[in-house]
């Protein structure tokens, strides 16, 4: 599979999907620099079902809504959390995966609970739902500093190098890292907020939304989506 499957069959419509190519395991680059991940596999299946061709466009996550509204991408689909604020600007499919924002520290850290973050330096991805989740929690008023990164990986790498005390991040994402790099991180007991992932479509494009929703529903129905989930998470996590 290639990042720009593009115009292989000219009569097929191409749907451009905006992703953050540093958001494992939903969408990221493997050793061969290919974009892979749960959302990538799912998107390929769904778009094919729709009779179109997917094109994955890595974007700066900070600009995702701008990208969508400009029409350069058709969908935002990469662990994109449904929030009320975003609903004002973006059409969402029904949620297909549940997630939570959690606080992560180094494995050897003394921090154990959310309120231990008081006076600590916390990192997160710029303009992500982690920011919303943290702000919604009272602890946000007591942390020393919140640092925003252009992607989660940079935040995690800063956590490892010790510039950060904790990172607020998607549970799905940190789960993946913790299986890859054992004993590096640990998750604080309470999670910040439960949330759900959906696919973002430009306002006004209800037709695309509907096609997408029915294709997604069909794949969940017939188990294809479940297979993909098992491949990446070892279980079927899809919301039915």
């Amino acid at each position: 599979s290639s990042t720009s499957a593009g115009e292989s069959e000219s009569d097929q419509k191409t749907i451009v999907i905006g992703i953050d190519d540093k958001f494992a395991p939903m969408g990221f680059r493997d050793e061969n620099n290919e974009i892979v991940g749960f959302d990538i596999d799912l998107a390929k299946a769904v778009i094919e079902k729709m009779g179109a061709t997917p094109k994955f466009q890595p974007i700066d996550w900070k600009t995702k809504e701008s990208e969508l509204s400009s029409g350069r991408i058709d969908l935002i689909w990469n662990g994109y959390t449904i929030t009320d604020e975003r609903k004002e600007k973006v059409l969402f499919t029904k949620p297909y995966l549940s997630n939570a924002q959690v606080a992560v520290t180094k494995a050897d850290s003394e921090l154990t609970e959310l309120h231990d973050l008081e006076g600590k330096v916390v990192g997160l991805q710029s303009l992500s739902s982690a920011a919303d989740a943290l702000n919604a929690n009272d602890i946000s008023k007591n942390v020393k500093e919140i640092t925003e990164f252009s992607d989660n990986v940079l935040a995690l790498s800063d956590l490892k190098s010790g510039r950060l005390d904790a990172v607020i991040i998607d549970e799905v994402v940190i789960d993946y890292y913790m299986t890859k790099e054992k004993d590096t991180f640990k998750i604080l007991d309470e999670s910040l907020a439960p949330e759900e992932y959906g696919i973002g479509v430009k306002k006004g494009n209800e037709q695309l939304l509907n096609e997408l929703q029915s294709a997604l529903d069909a794949l969940i129905e017939d188990g294809t989506a479940g297979e993909i989930s098992k491949k990446w998470f070892g279980e079927d996590r899809l919301l039915k």
């Binding site: 990221f28 620099n33 600009t63 400009s70 940079l154």
Partner: protein
Amino acid sequence: MSFDYILSVLKPMLEGAQVTILLFLIAIVISIPFGFLLTLASRSNIRMISWMAQGYIYIMRGTPLLLQLLFICFGLPMLPVVGEYLVLDRFVAACLGFILNYAAYFAEIFRGGLLSIDKGQYEASQVLGMNRWQTLTRIIIPQMFRVALPAVANESVTLVKDTALLYAVAVPELLHFAQTAVNRDFTILPFFLAAIIYLLMTLILSLFFKFLERRFKFE
């Protein structure tokens, strides 16, 4: 750090470098003549034109290229009414941003080049019966380019390095892939590789301009 690993990291980075080179070529080929037109406009006898050109140059040189790129790529589509017609392909948008920005810098360089040309050159051309157009094209511009060459070389090297900004408008380039690999593999090596590729590109460019300078030394 096996050789295979280096190769596997290098491949996407070299693909990114192609984007860099392509954008560089497009930007330089268009922004140099455009910059020269701006120079002429800024020296125009018509006040309005000269003001507008100078204002343009001032704004482009006074704000970050990164802001200009974001503006063109994400800002323009948000303009009311006309916005929807201003959605450019992101590579086209990037080229446009670089061209608009660098034209202003080249315009300043050429302005300096024109100023450095002695009044006597115009006078000699005039008394020899050459008209304004002949004087400009045969006498002034060749000398101006010669004078401007070192500054143009400098600016071109800066242009190569500025392509690192492309990722802000989601055009995948060299540095982005290096960063991806650094984060994924937790090694500093890709940064070194990227530095070497940039150094090679800027070195070749510098040598090319050195050659031009020697070629047009007029001695």
